[in-house]
């Protein structure tokens, strides 16, 4: 399985402290992942609204990916805890060669509202594997003045 960031060890990524969670790509395990998100944000001194937003955004991203994941595959969720923001990369191996994350859904609009930045990435599969589908999102620790 290809890594999100090539071969660099997780703990050296731009000085961000890194937490990676891998689960079966099952909706039943998303509560565990969003609990991790919530805990990391609380420890990083996120304000209470931002903690709530990140928890919900991670839930939304994971639920979206689990929907397209191949049976018995893995959901990989990496948290990069930086100063004043957390970046989340979530990805799965898709079950169908042409699987995509649809961005015209209500859930996606909510995700865009919750996160400061959100993007989808698709990577074609090699050999017999399906494509890798991922969502990257960024959340700041508190509201910036607008």
């Amino acid at each position: 399985m290809s890594d999100l960031d090539g071969s660099s060890p997780a703990e050296t990524l731009d000085g961000a402290s890194t937490v990676e969670v891998r689960t079966s790509a099952s909706a039943a395990l998303i509560p565990t992942i969003r609990a991790v998100a919530s805990d990391l944000a609380a420890r990083a001194d996120f304000d209470l609204d931002a903690i709530s937003d990140l928890r919900m955004a991670v839930d939304e991203a994971c639920a979206t990916l689990v929907d397209v994941a191949a049976p018995s595959s893995t959901l990989q969720c990496t948290f990069l805890v930086r100063s004043e923001r957390i970046e989340v990369h979530a990805q799965v191996r898709a079950g169908h060669p042409d699987a995509v994350v649809s961005t015209d859904t209500f859930g996606w609009r909510v995700l865009q509202t919750l996160a400061d930045d959100v993007a989808v990435h698709h990577e074609p599969g090699s050999g017999g594997d399906g494509p890798t589908v991922g969502i990257r999102l960024d959340k700041r620790s508190g509201d910036l003045p607008r």
């Binding site: 039943a28 509560p31 609204d49 937003d53 928890r55 919900m56 939304e60 639920a63 209500f106 859930g107």
Partner: protein, 132 residues
């Protein structure tokens, strides 16, 4: 109040800890029906939530309340259920009343602007007390 009947005790959702959803309907007044929901509303439990809310929206009472005090998490799938219920209420020339006391519920409703679709209350007594 009767013990809320657990929904989803036989679904795969109950295999993971913490994602249990309970919903119970009461009629504290002749013209008011209150659906009290407890647990986490997410992709696992959204169908149960939708069924419970649909039952409330079919109730003949003029004042309909969803008490979300016991809800610890509310995902977009749950928000979608509430939006649909708001439209159902509109068809009945009423506004659905929500009881919201926690950030876990208030924040998702407010950041998406969906709170505008409902009459928001901070307790059930207040929610059933107002005129229609």
């Amino acid at each position: 109040m009767a013990e809320p009947a657990p929904l989803g005790s036989e679904s795969p959702a109950s295999e993971a800890a913490g994602d249990f959803l309970e919903a119970a309907m009461t009629r504290p007044r002749a013209d008011a029906a209150v659906l009290a929901v407890q647990g986490e509303v997410d992709t696992l439990t959204a169908t149960l939530f939708a069924d419970a809310v649909a039952e409330l929206m079919d109730a003949p009472e003029t004042t309909l309340v969803v008490d979300l005090t016991g809800v610890k998490f509310l995902a977009s799938s749950g928000l979608a259920v509430l939006i649909q219920a708001a439209h159902r209420a509109e068809e009945r020339n009423a506004r659905l009343r929500l009881v919201v006391t926690t950030r876990a519920v208030r924040r998702p409703l407010e950041i998406t602007g969906i709170d505008q679709l409902f009459d928001m209350h901070s307790d059930v007594h207040d929610a059933i007390g107002g005129d229609d």
